[in-house]
Amino acid sequence: MAQPVAGAPEILTEILGGAQIARTIDRIAHQILERNGEQPIVLLGIPTRGVHLAKRLADRLTAFTGRPIPVGSLDITLYRDDLRRRPPRALEETRIPAGGLDNATVVLVDDVLYSGRTIRAALDALRDHGRPAVVQLAVLVDRGHRQLPIRADYVGKNIPTAFGDDVAVHLVEIDGLDSVELARAVPTREEITGLPGEGTS
């Protein structure tokens, strides 16, 4: 599997622009309503960008239904199973809506679904905050390469990626613009032709 080399040239492709992200959020909001009907819904965003996406989704759900939708945030850092392998991360805010999670339909919201380990940690974290009746998952982008048997209920866009690719989600609230970009290392001659390239063996 090709691994990106630090400093190696990359090809940047914009997968979603601002208007497309807005439409995607609208679509996911409709899907959530179709699936859950009148059930009480709680949206929980996973920091950092998941929280902003959850707020946007809640705004749209409120606009469509006319009822307020509780939104919270769930930091999963303390539940990760790879803390030893990563530099220490600053913790983000965990805020559970006042009504709690018991017997609610909780929709976890994140920007990118990749290995599935973040969502596993989120499920563990959820268990400590209450017992939701149903837990669903909404993501803006599913880039594949799952390491755990986890699947999203609502996907904005499936993006087939190579293992070494990088998917970057930018949101106005944090980055000043809305876009989803795929950064792919420029393929080597070997990868294109199947022949050994210069300096490779």
Binding site: L78, R86, P88
Partner: protein, 309 residues
């Protein structure tokens, strides 16, 4: 951030604020939960190595480690091979062989945790060494202050009492000045350490003057066990000159808080009415101690494979 937490002076403003912010988040994550336990440090071993009695600090560290799901071993010098003459270095090698990921060390000799940090691979946390330092106490004090006063820049904090024997005072002066506060030490001249001029704090012998308009007062325990010499004539005289009573508390700013690292000598350095009064945050300090120590353990023990913080 250093690999070990040996001195409050080793913390930069950035790393101190990271610890305090992390503690705030941990407190948020733990609030209102049935299960007050996180899986963060599952499989890690934290050794509480206490060569000096301290129920309060040991329990606080033990609870912090357990709330993060670490395995905790309590090792006290009494009844151990230390009382049979084993050296600190031999104890360190034993801990090393047992694979301790973190060692929380309390010792009556200043500098013992520093020595230990050179002998073990795990992270060493100073839980009080002699009259030198007690950095996690300073962190929990700063955490408590920040909760009540907001940012500490320019805030006036008065530390009163046995500064000479107090590792709490030394660590607090270093940390609070790093965080931008102005610290004034007030003590009888006999209980002011030599070289205090080099500390980032003012020294005063006039408690009433120092307290006027201050944002917080931190009373220190008169450490009778360390008072081999005659440092003041009588307890009553000490109390009159340096004890905190209702009249003196009224000199503080309106939203000021009263702190004490405990255990208190009620009636000597602080009157019961003030210790239990509305502005007192002494019980809160104990609760905050667990949260801050959880933050320290998390920050030291995550990312270990990259060589610590």
């Amino acid at each position: 951030m250093p690999r070990h937490l040996l001195s409050a002076g080793d913390l930069t403003r950035g790393s101190a604020e990271l610890i305090l912010d992390t503690a705030e988040r941990i407190d948020q994550a733990m609030a209102g939960r049935e299960v007050r336990k996180l899986p963060t440090l599952r499989g890690r071993t934290v050794v509480n190595l206490f060569f000096e009695d301290s129920t309060r600090t040991r329990i606080s560290f033990e609870l912090a480690a357990k709330r993060l799901s670490a395995d905790v071993i309590n090792f006290s010098a009494k009844g151990s091979s230390v009382s049979k003459g084993e050296s600190l270095k031999d104890t360190a090698w034993t801990l090393q062989a047992m694979g301790a990921d973190a060692v929380v060390c309390r010792h009556s000799a200043s500098g013992a945790p520093q020595q230990l940090s050179g002998w073990v691979d795990g992270h060493v946390i100073n839980a009080g060494d002699g009259t030198h330092e007690h950095p996690t106490q300073a962190l929990l004090d700063a955490f408590t202050l920040r909760r009540h006063l907001g940012r500490l820049d320019g805030r006036r904090i008065v530390v009163v009492g046995d500064v000479l024997h107090s590792r709490v005072a030394r660590s607090n002066v270093l940390l609070l000045s790093t965080l931008g506060a102005q610290v004034t030490l007030v003590a009888p001249p006999t209980l002011v350490p030599v070289g205090v001029d080099a500390w980032p704090a003012q020294v005063s012998y006039d408690l009433d003057g120092a307290l006027t308009g201050a944002d917080a007062v931190m009373m220190l325990r008169v450490q009778r066990e360390r008072m081999s010499g005659a440092f003041f004539p009588t307890e009553r005289e000490y109390s009159r000159g340096y004890g905190l009573d209702e009249r003196r508390r009224a000199l503080l700013a309106d939203d000021a808080i009263v702190m004490h690292p405990g255990p208190m000598n009620r009636g000597m350095e602080i009157t019961p009415g003030v210790a239990d009064g509305v502005n007192s945050v002494i019980v809160e300090q104990v609760a905050n101690g667990v949260t801050v120590r959880m933050a320290v353990l998390y920050l030291l023990l995550s990312g270990e494979m990259d060589g610590g913080l």
